[in-house]
Symmetry: C2
Subunit: 298 residues, 2 copies
C-alpha cells in the first residue's frame, strides 16, 4: 500500500534534485528556510536570487492536522483530518528571452479515505518561440503518453482553461498540463497516479535546463526588458486574482512568504499599453489564446 | 428631489477641478480616454505620467442598464435596472516621501428605490510622518464633523477594517475614512448624504496638494526607492486580493484599464524581506496597524 510518508520523501528528494540542477545552471545557491506549522507539519522553502534566475523559489511542504473549514465547506464534508504534501516552483529569469516556468506536484488525503494527486507544468515566455513551444508541449505529451493516451489532450485543455486571465482575455502563457483530484478509479490505481506525478516532477529539469541554455546569453534591449516587466505584471494579476492555490493558501492562513514566492522581482503596469503593429510583442500577444495546437505549430 | 443627472454632473465637475489642480502642481497634463459601455453609459478616464505623479488616474463614470446578476445575488433581489456614477482616483508619486493617495465617491440607485452613496479618502505613505498623519486625519474629521459627530469615528474604523492586508497582518497605509451604502434614514435625507459626499470630494485637493508641496523635492536614496517599490507591491496585493471594487469590476466585465489604473508603475517583491532594527522602514511598519488614534499621535 502506498504510504504518505513515501510520497513526501519522494517529493523532498525531487526538491533536492531540482535545486541542485538549477544551482549548477545558475552558478548561485538557493537559500533554505525550514519552517514548522503550528497545527502540524512544515516545509523547506528554497529561494534564489541568481544570475540566470533573477528570483525563484522551489518549495517542499508536508502538512497535516484538522481539515481546514474552507475545504470541508467546499466538499460538503464533516470534520476530518488531512495530510498534504507537495513540491511547487516558480522561476523568474533575468533575461526576457528565458521563459518563466511553474511546476507543482501535490498529494492530498483525508481520514475519510479521499486520496488525490494534482499538479502540472506550464510555461510563460515573455516572447513566444513557436519552436520552443512545440518542443515543450511535445515533451509534456511524451510524459503523458507513457501513462494514458488521453492524459495530454485532457490536461492540456485543463491548463488552457486554468491559466486564463479572464479580465485580459489572455492566457498566462503557452499553458502546458494541469490536473487535479486524480484518484484511484477503474483505470488507475493510486500507485499509477503516483508514478505519473513522479514522471511530471522528473520532467522538469530536462524541459527547463535547455530553455535556460539556449536563451540565457541572448542580447536584449530596453524595449524587451520593459515588455518583460509588463508580462510579469500579468503574472501577478493571474496569481493574485485567479490562482486557486494562492487564494486558498491566503484564505487558510498559509505561510504567506512561501505562497507569494511566485511573485516576480519587478513588475510594471502602464495604463492602456498597446503593442506596435507587426512587432514581436504583438506576435506573442496573438498567441496568448486557448486551444492552440502547439505541437503542430512549429 | 435629488436627480441622478445632477449627481453625475457634480461628479464630472469635480473630476475637472481635481485634474486641473493636479496638473498645476505637476506641470504635466492628463490624457483623457472617453469610453462607452455597450449596455449603457460610459466614462472619462484621465491618466497622467507626470513629474511628481509618476502614474495616476482620475476617473469619472456614469453607467446604467440591467443590474448585474452578481449584485442581485448578493442582495437577494429580483431583476431591476441600476444607475451608478462616481469619481475615483489613485496617485502613485515618483518621490517616496510623497504618499500614495486614493479617493472615491460614488452613487448607486436601483429601480426598486434603493439609493446609496459611498466613498472615502485614504493615504498610503511609504514612510509615515506622524505629523502629516495627524493633520490628514484632522482634515477628514473636520469634513465629517460638519455633518454628524459620529461620522469620523465610524468611517475611520471602517477604513481601518477595509484597507487591511490580512495575509500580511498590515493595514495598507494610515487609513482615512471609508463609507458605503449611506442611504436616507431617520437622521439624514438623501440630499444630506449628497452634501457630505461632495465635501469629501472637495476636501481632496486641500488635503493632497500640501503633501505634494512639502515633500516633492526631498532627497531620497536607493534604499528608500527600494522600500517604495516594496510598499507598492503591498498596494498591488491589497487591490488584487481584497479590494471589493476591483473584484466586482473584474467579475462583471467592467473596463479593465479603468479598474486597474490603480496599480503602480513599478512594484517589487523580495522573498521574506525584513526591515532593519531601528530603521525608518521599521518605524513605518510598526504603524501599519488598525485602531491608531492618528490625531492624538503627533
Amino acid at each position: 500500500m502506498l504510504k504518505k510518508e513515501v510520497i513526501a520523501e519522494t517529493f523532498k528528494n525531487l526538491q533536492d534534485t531540482i535545486t541542485s540542477g538549477l544551482e549548477k545552471a545558475d552558478g548561485k545557491k538557493f537559500n533554505e528556510d525550514i519552517w514548522q506549522r503550528a497545527e502540524g507539519g512544515g516545509g523547506r522553502t528554497r529561494t534564489i536570487e541568481g544570475t540566470v534566475i533573477e528570483k525563484g523559489g522551489v518549495a517542499f511542504s508536508a502538512v497535516y492536522g484538522k481539515t481546514p473549514e474552507k475545504i470541508l465547506q467546499a466538499l460538503q464534508l464533516p470534520p476530518s483530518d488531512f495530510y498534504a504534501t507537495g513540491v511547487s516552483l516558480v522561476l523568474h529569469p533575468a533575461n526576457p528571452w528565458v521563459p518563466i516556468i511553474h511546476m507543482n506536484i501535490r498529494y492530498f488525503e483525508m481520514s475519510n479515505g479521499t486520496k488525490w494527486f494534482g499538479g502540472g507544468i506550464d510555461l510563460t515566455p515573455h516572447y513566444i518561440s513557436k519552436q520552443e513551444a512545440s518542443i515543450f508541449h511535445q515533451q509534456l505529451k511524451n510524459v503523458c503518453d507513457k501513462y494514458y493516451s488521453d492524459y495530454y489532450s485532457k490536461f492540456k485543455q485543463w491548463a488552457d482553461d486554468y491559466f486564463f486571465i479572464k479580465h485580459r482575455n489572455e492566457t498566462r502563457g503557452i499553458g502546458g498540463i494541469f490536473f487535479d483530484r486524480l484518484s484511484e478509479d477503474s483505470d488507475f490505481t493510486i500507485e499509477d497516479r503516483f508514478e505519473f506525478v513522479k514522471s511530471v516532477g522528473n520532467a522538469f529539469l530536462p524541459i527547463y535546463l535547455p530553455l535556460i541554455d539556449s536563451n540565457r546569453n541572448k542580447a536584449f534591449d530596453e524595449k524587451e526588458k520593459q515588455w518583460q516587466y509588463l508580462r510579469r505584471g500579468r503574472y501577478v494579476e493571474f496569481n493574485l486574482v485567479y490562482d486557486k492555490g494562492t487564494k486558498f493558501g491566503l484564505d487558510t492562513n498559509g505561510r504567506t512568504e512561501s505562497i507569494l514566492m511566485s511573485l516576480p522581482p519587478t513588475a510594471q503596469w502602464k495604463y492602456d499599453f498597446n503593442v506596435e503593429k507587426g512587432s514581436p510583442e504583438e506576435a506573442t500577444l496573438s498567441l496568448l489564446k486557448k486551444d492552440i495546437n502547439w505541437i503542430g505549430l512549429a
